[in-house]
Amino acid sequence: MSPSQATTPLATPEAPLYNERNYLNEKSGVWSWLTTVDHKRIGVMYLVLVIGALFLGGVFAMLVRIELLTPGPTIMSAMTYNRMFTLHGVVMIFLFMIPAIPNVFGNFFLPIMLGARDVAFPRLNLLTVYLYLLGAAIALWGMIHGGADTGWTFYVPYSTTTVTKVAPILLGAFILGMSSIVSGLNFIVTVHTLRAPGITWLRMPLFVWSIYGTAIIQVLATPVLGITLLLVAVENVFGFGVFDPARGGDPILFQHMFWFYSHPAVYIMVLPSMAVVSEVVCAFARKNMFGYKAVAFSSLGIAFVGFFTWGHHLFTSGQSTVNAGIFGVLSMFVGIFTAIKVFNWTATLYKGSVAFKTPFAYFCGFLFFLVFGGMTGIALATVALDVHWQDTYFVVAHFHFIMVGGTMMGFLAGLHYWWPKMFGRMYPEGWGLVSAVLIILGFNATFIPQFLLGNMGMPRRYYSYPAEFWPLNVASTAGASLLAFGFIIILIYLLISLKHGPVAGPNPWFSRGFEWITASPPPTDNFGPRNPVYTHGPHEYDKEASPVPAGSPPEAPHAH
């Protein structure tokens, strides 16, 4: 980084409104992007990739919903329908949900929030991008050549005997798992070793705490998925394996091994969203986080206790009643930590000074959906109730409430909150609120009917259904269309804002988050030649005397 830079890019009052020499244009050319080790560029590359994955998964979702518009065949055969919902699940979970927030915002902001100039292993960081691409390519190849029809959960013995292209999709998922592991490893080491002087563990931004919890799960759980999928692929391709009942195999063993990862995986999906929400709540209520330690440690609580609960996916599979009892009780415990967070976020709002901007709108959606989705989760964890709801649309609605209502809202909140920091330009606030409303309404219209359908007994993954379920299915598809429309609007105005949006300045939200001390967009080395030193904690809105990053207090004339 050349010390002869004319202006210091740190966001002092003299900071430039738009940082001219930033990480985006410092080096140019495709090769500089393909070989970059800059965590910010890697974050942007992931942004492009996960948005592509989101739209691909969304296309599969719309195809599924269109097929379900009528009780009989609508636009495809049953076999194709099985492939559609499988691919929807595989693409959404492995290519979007798991990587999105950690690899986009975690990569971009975790080092900056810790005062570091990069993650612990920058070259490994680049490797994760290529592993993601390789895994996605192999899985896509499998999809194009017919795809799998097993459901994203690949239950044996069907997945070990089906003729569809399960093996490439499993191999793709294995490689994507490697990307996830390396990414998590990188973040853990970064948090342990690269905190700037003054940032103790209890002064880390809450975003970092939750990403750290996510990384722990990624490192501990993903390898078990890897070996499980590998075993299924080996059994499918070579015909020798450990799940074949005729050779003494136990199909429920597959389910144990699979869900040992896949339940913590849902916390990989939701913890980063909670990470974003912690940041957004403090910034838009202009208040310190109520109960910082509780929120911080509850991230670790979710990460660890989430490992004790996997058997609740096996309640109706033939698991022993002893196990069912154990897992039923343990599954209740994990809700405690989410509740701690929810209460603390709400308490933060109390007597705060709320600015109802787009990120805050998504937070409102998030809170509502997380609470109701989470409560239906606790209901499902009750063994006696799950006997009625297992494998119905009730479960589908529950996890979509958390995935879309929770993770997706968090992703969108983070995208809008940090868009001006990442690209130096502001998105149009009016359109932001409009699409937030569309998405929240569309989401409700899509998934509330599914709770009702599930409770009425409509099974999931079914191609046809009795006529009594028809109206609710139509309602759900209508909602899905609205949801899709909202996403398309977001994509359009974000792309337009890259070129034509108003310059945002270093801190358009007057946030006290650590990442706002640097310029927008940040310079390649994050802070310029001077290392930042930290003397206060994060989210400190009660210390009005200390200098506000960039510009002026909220009453300044150019605040919007």
Partner: protein, 160 residues
Amino acid sequence: MANPSAPVSHDEEERVRHISASRYYVVWVALLVFTALTIFTARGVHIPSPWHLLVGLAIAVVKAALVALFFMHLWDHGGTTRLVLVTALVFLALLIGITVLDNATRFELSNPVNDRNERFMPPGPDILSPMAVPRGGRLPERSQGAGETGGAPARPGGGH
């Protein structure tokens, strides 16, 4: 880890530097001794089941601890790396323990057919063992009698 810029003290680094190579030889000999011991306790003497399993595992754990602590330097280097290995082992124990608890407490006939539960099988042809589903997912044609259609294992001892 209060001061992020110095996780290992300089003294510790110096101490590591001054370890002599003899400790490695000592550990190596110990490992060989334990290897001989485990072979002896398995093949040389007869230990009743299930204790033979426990003895074998205990010796393996001791050997693994020696490798981890001394060859891999966990004895010298600080807390975080130890915590990483211990955490992994704890969660592995959780996975194995609860999964095998399932098999141990299940309704016995929903376990794979084995020596313990085959006596509960009803008499007559074996209709409870799942037939092997052939590759391609299509079930074989129904054939007469207790068909060896694709590998249903004949029960040893026959029905009676």
